[in-house]
Symmetry: C3
Subunit: 493 residues, 3 copies
């Protein structure tokens, strides 16, 4: 019972390297790693050292709760055990690996979370293992005492291409061997056929591109750092994005552009005889993920359910209920209004500000005003109540700008009078061009759906009275807009 | 018509590399790049690949609207075309260049904007081109199939120094040739004599310093990466700063300190046979620009008008209307007050907090109090209304600190009771040492110029009642102050 | 008198390199540096150049006020003077060093302060000196004109180990000589025996580990970059942490893990014949300090009093008055309540959220409710006033969530209705599970200790009415909690 609380997180972390969290899969991977006892023990020693150091600092349960605290020192230990057998001297070296992993993981995970909103994947492992491999070149005694001959593991020989694939898959856990790779592949296949499929896609794309550039398929498949293509493809096509034809397309493209990253890392490090580890996977995955997240790409996985299959299930169920984006808001008025400009509108809803909708009130002839339209009061929507489209908090308000005469615009204050709201689901809604001094909420107020925000006006860059509404992910005025949808409405046409 | 919307942004981006946005200049540069068709086509292929990838992500108009999305893949393509001729294999390589450029540009521009408030210049190009040049060393097939002999372009031979200058200028677009350089120089001269002048200044400074350190002028001028001195000088002296004698001095100093950056980059990369590209220009320009911006250096260009000449025009016109800084605020009181301490005051307005003004009320003898001055109510300004000097928003308020007895100060709460206001022009105004419990605005309030903020008091580090006012660019208490000026006042002396 | 205002800051900056600020120690170090006049003058020339450049930008007093503006160019100059004697050519080179140091220091200190909350130590020196050493390899003329033979300084020969220690200590100021090292050691000993002790601990740990890995004590002690172990040990054990057995343990561990950093830096740079300077010290110190600060480690020095001894004094005095953490808050209620769960509670106070306390009201039998407990009103604490535990500002409020029936929890809104307060001492207090619509403060309000926040309820992840309170360092909901304590209470058991 006491041991279990340590064992289960470790097993899950082994699995996390392959993007899932099944303990039984982790048990299999742990078992495999002990086929080369130096690798198996190495991983555990560095992990233990990281854990003990973390406890010194008062960490205890968080360490076991968060998978990257575990798998980063683990991978560092595996990488050291791949070269050095365990004895007194190398033991100390494995200890430094664990402590450095913990420090690096803690710092990077904080910075990545706060400033990039990105996971750290196995970046700490790459940094620490590269550093220790570099350092070891000066440690003659370590080499003399701990270097061991290339470890023999039974290989299964199929075809060169498939051998290469399995060896690369095994190399993820420093077991570059067809047998281990085959077992790992079967494990992936059982857990998620989609991930298995993506691993093949990624490997093939990476290897064929490399072969083309190098002019030698043989050279391409004999390089086990090709596991970077496998991991990149799985991460992009099955984890970061909801599985779909488009996600597979991005998986393929990501493997493709990983090729020069793998080779440039190799050229850079080969002067020092350092392998590239998982650096290319980390670089491309993080670049691509950042772009997916910050452009608000529609397929981005918001909740990963352990495997791509379960994520897809979740997403499809959810899709049925919420047609578009997961950013559903109510209409900002009651009664019947008309969409004047919608997404990618012809006039102003361009570029980063393209996801926006303008509303007016029209009469039976489609006109927005009565009489001549030369006075603001001619416009049907002028002065009509504007309601909160969400339950949220008022983040910012401007209320003092004058309403333009019809046909004129205020080029300096693009948004005119506005209310910026924050929705706990993680986005901001801007409602603008409100009437001067009509706003009746203030910064800090909580509002509920349907409560009065102000009156429709003609302030800002607005030639005629209308309501402009859009959704953005950042709190400042002028932030890029993202897609959203309205929860319920009756279209009269 | 349809093509135009693609062509014009491309032409402008070519021009943007030389710090302006004239389409006709871009057309000339595009034409020049086709003197070596591999360079010309290379640029367009990588650009096309970046654009198509961006569209996959839902980008479209922003891509064409923002110049660095265009010129970064363009330069990457030029750099690849400079080595490899276009065929099936290299085509794929050019494609990776475009996609990697887009990803790098997107991520870096976001991070630079949010965290450094800096442009990215051509940093993505430098990163991607260095990576691809590195990778290509493993791509034997690419070399076999696509390497082409050094491309011959007609050279004009003037003097070695001038040849070197023109070749370096041509090298900006991977056309290291005196003829191309001459054409580019004439183009710059036509668009902006100031930039042309700065290019000469920068080149001369860089080359002479290098020659001195190397002991050989010949070696110095035979290195085309000297274009880094040219670009640095133009950026610092004509773009980041309003052109003036002082801006030219900084241009010269920037070229001077670029010399060790150029050479250290060369030493670092020559092990790998990688050129330095525009790395030194990016490093020095961004370092210097950051320092200019965050120290609030007075000559920093706030609005660049396409050329240094137009910027200067704009600035001079504006200068006439607004004497000092572009941060004009009203006086924070009505009636007649006296400046007690001004910028760089003898007492406390020191260091980062030197741009501040203190006001008191004096009598005809210049004294600030009646009677003995031992009681706060003896002081003429104590309890007098303090007014908002701007239209803005209340960001922070403290109101509960006690007023010191005359002659005593509160060393713990330097600012005492204060109101911190935000002005939409992009700065913060702090008014402090207010009377206890006298503040009658609260966080989030909008205030207009002249509205009551509170009463003059003696809280905080204040030995006698007075109003302290300063302007800062960051929202936290104790942020460095920057210069500002008062819009209108009558000096009674 | 005029000179003094320049001299004293310089002397203090020399001392700052050894973690104190005594001018007389600095004078001794300055004197020592002139034993090799090239080193001594080199430092002053680069410093002068940095200062003059800063003045061009309008800097003046801040430069002299902030020690890292001074010691970074100083160290750069010392490092250059260690290789090049002073003449016209090298003079220009020393000038570039000063300007580059100022720019790098300004930018890095800003970024480190805002984004990492870390000091920059001597990182700018490491970056600039590495760059200039790299660049100098292309500057044949500089070598021809300025290189000078290895400078002879009188050595005192004791034992190899002690010689190594003194040489390393001298190497901090580019005086790798036993005599200089001895003088420096005596200086440290006089100023702070704790720092002297830590320097020995650090050196021994680093050297013995290195000797073990290399299989040669001789090799280990002949490397003067071992000063990195000395500085790391002093910084971690005596400056970042309050001196204690635990701080010494961390000093030892930090020196231990510095070993692979020193050697990997050496392997990396030796291709370029560049020394590692103080890179390993900076890397390990900053990693460790970041982790100390952000995990809220209890021994972190909040106010460094010039020497570890004075810091310890201060801390011990303070400890007597404030028993636990420096984050003392009042109880959030009046009357008699019972602690239901405390730090590291069995139920939900786990992981990053472990520093939290739950309160309920119990009757004489220890029960929290009367009757059956099936209705919320059965619970003694339900609806009781919740008071502000601090003087602070309301940062965030939620008030609209329903109260769960007893035994049920709201898994989506973990914290239920809550008030998040900011305390000027630099932390946030969250009080939560309040009753629906009972909160009577709003965002932006100032509150004083004991003022009413709302009523005890059962909203959020709460199976029975109680008050949850914790302290966190970051403003967002769900931020990690840190230890805190209650100022005054009577324990009835």
């Amino acid at each position: 019972m006491g041991v279990e609380k340590y064992i289960v997180p470790i097993l899950r972390s082994y699995s996390a390297v392959l993007f899932n969290s099944e303990a039984y899969g982790g048990a299999l991977l742990l078992f495999l790693s002990f086929l080369n006892p130096n690798v198996g023990f190495g991983g555990l020693v560095s992990l233990l050292s990281a854990y003990l150091f973390a406890r010194l600092l008062g960490f205890k349960r968080e360490f076991l709760r968060i998978d990257y605290y575990i798998y980063n020192p683990l991978l560092v230990g595996l990488s050291l055990g791949y070269i050095f057998k365990i004895n007194t001297i190398s033991f100390l070296f494995f200890l430094t690996g664990g402590i450095l992993s913990f420090l690096t993981t803690y710092v990077l995970s904080n910075l990545f979370y706060y400033y990039f909103r990105l996971p750290i994947l196995s970046l700490p492992f790459v940094i620490v293992s590269s550093t220790l491999y570099l350092a070891s070149q000066h440690f003659s005694n370590l080499f003399v005492e701990s270097l061991y001959p290339h470890f023999y593991l039974p290989n299964i020989d199929i075809t060169p291409f498939i051998n290469g694939f399995f060896k690369s898959l095994g190399a993820v856990f420093f077991l570059p061997n067809t047998f281990c790779g085959l077992v790992i592949f079967l494990l992936i296949l059982r857990i998620s056929p989609i991930l298995a499929f993506l691993s093949v896609i990624g490997y093939s794309t990476g290897i064929l591109t490399t072969a083309l550039f190098k002019g030698s398929l043989y050279q391409a498949i004999s390089d086990t750092s090709a596991f970077n293509y496998i991991l990149t493809s799985m991460a992009v096509g099955g984890v970061f994005l909801v599985p779909s034809l488009r996600s597979y397309k991005f998986a393929l493209l990501s493997s493709f552009i990983s090729v020069p990253i793998v080779e440039s890392s190799k050229v850079f490090w080969e002067t020092y005889s350092i392998p590239v580890f998982a650096l290319p996977f980390n670089v491309i995955s993080l670049l691509v993920l950042y772009v997916f997240i910050f452009t608000g790409y529609s397929l981005v996985t918001r909740v990963y359910r352990g495997t791509p299959e379960r994520t897809l299930d979740y997403y499809l169920t959810r899709l049925k209920r919420f047609p578009f984006t997961g950013r559903e808001i109510a209409l900002p008025f009651s009664g019947e209004w008309t969409v004047w400009q919608s997404f990618d509108g012809e006039w102003t809803h361009k570029g980063a500000w393209r996801h926006a909708v303008d509303f007016v009130i029209t009469d039976s002839e489609g006109k927005t005003f009565k009489g001549t339209g030369s006075s603001l009061s001619d416009y049907y929507c002028f002065g009509k109540p504007v309601l909160s489209p969400i339950d949220g908090t008022v983040v910012d308000v401007v209320s003092s700008l004058p309403d333009n005469k019809p046909g004129e615009v205020d080029k300096e204050n693009n948004w005119g009078n506005y209310v910026l709201l924050y929705d706990k689901r993680g986005f901001y809604v801007l409602v603008c061009h409100l009437k001067q001094n009509s706003v009746n909420v203030k910064r800090g107020d909580s509002v509920t759906k349907g409560s009065l925000l102000g009156l429709c006006g003609n302030s800002g860059y607005s030639p005629q009275p209308h309501i402009h509404i859009h959704v953005q992910l950042l709190p400042h005025l002028g932030a890029p807009t993202v897609p959203f949808s309205f929860t319920s409405f009756i279209s009269s046409k």
